[in-house]
């Protein structure tokens, strides 16, 4: 893994967040170290409940860290929240549009909160609405918008004051595939214009499609980070073959460990998982071993190297979206 440039736009050091609840403390983020370089499209990838939104919350000053440090544009989020807020744009996972205002007014007032005068704010709002193809929704109320339109409007709103960093928390969750791909294009354009973007997602393919670098998190901990290519290489670039049997896993599968190109064989109840660099024939062999032992195959899958196999390799668990 190559070290990021010396002055990261976003940096966290041993960042922790524990929520206290009546039933005890719930650790959400446990010692996260991240660094996002200027101009980078950085993805925070992990299943639901991995601590991604809490991390974004801390970086955007709305969640107070329990310990550790988080800096955005050189300012500590806990000590200088106002300085941080001036420099960031945030599109949260929830629809937080102001329903008392029209679409254009949502943008106008966001601009004015950030020190633009009314005229400049309106002009910038028009510019962004046109850029995002939302010109015809100018005077509509936010609750009349479709899911995709609301996300676009929230991204427009986040961009009103030309933030140095754009935070996007699950920008495409719940959107249909076409809308998602359209939004990806918009985000790629933004990055090409020099926008630093930190995005969280639980969609593997979204991280693969958009991000320069990815940090994989689960249970509030960093599992790995690097470019998608690095991660695949580091985690072994394995193809993962999983086979489920209708009986006990036959002993014969252990022999696959000796097979050339097989890195690892994991046996859980009723299921065997083989991590292989040379996957050819492995699936067939697993079926054959089964029938020799008199057990049938109930399901089988073969995943080519991807972030999903990286996740499997790192955690030994299926990726739960």
């Amino acid at each position: 893994m190559t070290a990021p440039p010396p002055e990261p736009t976003v940096r966290t050091v041993d960042l922790h967040k524990t929520y206290s609840s009546p039933r005890g403390d719930v650790p959400a983020v446990q010692g996260l170290d991240l660094a996002v370089a200027p101009g980078e499209f950085f993805g925070l990838l992990g299943p639901n409940g991995a601590g991604k939104s809490t991390t974004i919350g801390m970086l955007t000053t709305l969640v107070v860290p329990t310990s550790g440090r988080a800096e955005v544009c050189g300012f500590d989020v806990a000590a200088h929240p106002v300085e941080v807020k001036r420099r960031i744009g945030v599109a949260s996972q929830n629809n937080t549009l102001d329903n008392d205002l029209t679409g254009a007014e949502n943008l106008e007032f966001r601009g004015r909160y950030f020190g633009l005068n009314a005229k400049d704010a309106r002009r910038r709002a028009d510019e962004l609405l046109d850029m995002f193809g939302m010109g015809d929704r100018r005077d509509g109320k936010p609750f009349e918008l479709s899911g995709g339109q609301a996300r676009r409007l929230m991204i427009c709103r986040a961009l009103m004051h030309r933030p140095e960093v754009l935070f996007l928390d699950e920008p495409t969750a719940g959107l249909d595939p076409q809308t998602r791909v359209n939004l990806w294009e918009v985000l790629r354009d933004l990055q090409q214009q020099g926008q630093t973007i930190l995005l969280t997602t639980h969609y593997m393919e979204e991280a693969e499609a958009l991000c320069d670098r990815v940090a994989v998190v689960d249970h509030g901990k960093l599992l790995a980070s690097g470019t998608v290519a690095d991660l695949k290489a580091e985690a072994g670039a394995d193809t993962v073959i999983t086979v489920g049997y209708d009986g006990p896993v036959p002993e014969g599968v252990a022999a696959l460990r000796e097979r050339a190109g097989v890195e690892r064989v994991e046996v859980t109840d009723g299921q065997v998982r083989v991590f292989a660099r040379a996957p050819e024939g492995v699936l067939g062999e697993l079926v054959a071993v089964g029938s020799a032992a008199g057990v049938g195959v109930t399901d089988a899958s073969q995943l080519r190297p991807s972030l999903e196999t990286v996740f499997l390799t790192l955690t030994g668990r299926e990726y739960r979206e």
Binding site: L62, R86, N106, A118, D120, R162, Q193
Partner: protein
């Protein structure tokens, strides 16, 4: 204002020029922009918001200062013993006070119910470049403004609606006192609303009306002066816990000084110190709700 970002370009190795924030936010500018947002929303909802505020006091004076005196001596006889004050005279400060308090509390609680519920639309303004406690202050000031407007709108109605011979007798001897009472009463109610709204579970707001707002009005010295309660001494003491009593009595002192009312040191200190205390407390609870 367009960005003049040429000076900072050199520092960034990014492929394209990284954005440099435009606009020059100061705390005052952001605060005023937030107030401008409230005024825009208020303008849009003016009719529905203030119709709601005005209708209750209008009906009240209509029934008690017009209909009842016409049909019998029932309701009106309470206040009018011999050459005593008309009931309208008692009602004018009381109804203005109740309008201020109701509007001040609802103006902050209703939006807060939405903003703190699961979508947390409060995030929109919590991300504005001001400290979160200042956002709380802004919410109090905005709701107080609505309370003040609510109070002013009730004035003409309660002054003009009455039966013949039942006209309220209003003398403003001390204008600064009236202004202080209106402003302080508005701020106190807004701060109290923010405190309740941030302490209560948004799902249980219905309870608020039954258990808090209604008793506050009925026992807020709206329909009778505090001094007149000395026949029910225990109640006279219990209602001292109700902030609306002080707003009513303060306005009574300012509008109908001839009616027996609390001394200034009593209502004045509760209104001023209470506003500061509730404001400080609400700012804290609000900040706790917004920052997790």
């Amino acid at each position: 204002m367009t960005a003049t970002d040429s000076t900072t370009d050199a520092a960034a190795p990014a492929p394209a020029a990284p954005p440099v924030p435009i606009g020059r936010p100061t705390l005052a500018r952001t605060f005023l922009a937030m107030m401008a947002r409230e005024v825009r929303v208020m303008r849009k909802n003016f009719l529905s918001t203030f119709l709601r505020v005005v209708i209750q006091p209008v009906l009240f004076v209509f029934v008690f200062a017009y209909v009842l005196p016409k049909i019998s001596t029932g309701g009106a006889s309470f206040a009018q013993q011999g050459s005593g004050p008309t009931f309208a005279t008692i009602l004018v400060p009381g109804l203005i006070a109740s309008s201020i308090v109701m509007q001040g509390m609802m103006a902050v609680i209703f939006p807060l119910m939405m903003e703190l519920s699961w979508q947390r639309s409060i995030t929109d303004r919590a991300l504005a470049p001001v400290p979160v406690p200042l956002l709380a202050v802004q919410k109090i000031v905005a709701a107080a403004l609505q309370a003040l407007i609510g109070g002013l709108l009730v004035f003409p109605a309660v002054l003009l609606i009455h039966a013949e011979g039942q006209a309220p007798s209003i003398h403003v001897g001390n204008w600064p006192l009236l202004v202080l009472m209106m402003v302080c009463g508005s701020l106190l109610s807004a701060a109290g609303g923010l405190l309740l709204g941030t302490l209560m579970d948004p799902q249980k707001m219905q309870v608020l009306f039954a258990l808090v707002l209604l008793p506050m009005t009925m026992l807020g010295c709206v329909y009778y002066p505090w001094a007149a309660m000395d026949g029910v001494r225990w109640l006279q003491i219990v209602v001292l816990a109700n902030p609306m009593v002080y707003v009513s009595e303060g306005l009574r002192a300012a509008l109908t000084p001839q009616i027996e009312h609390m001394p200034f040191w009593a209502y004045g200190s509760v209104l001023v110190l209470g506003t500061l205390l509730l404001g400080w407390w609400a700012t804290r609870t609000f900040t706790k709700r917004v920052l997790t």
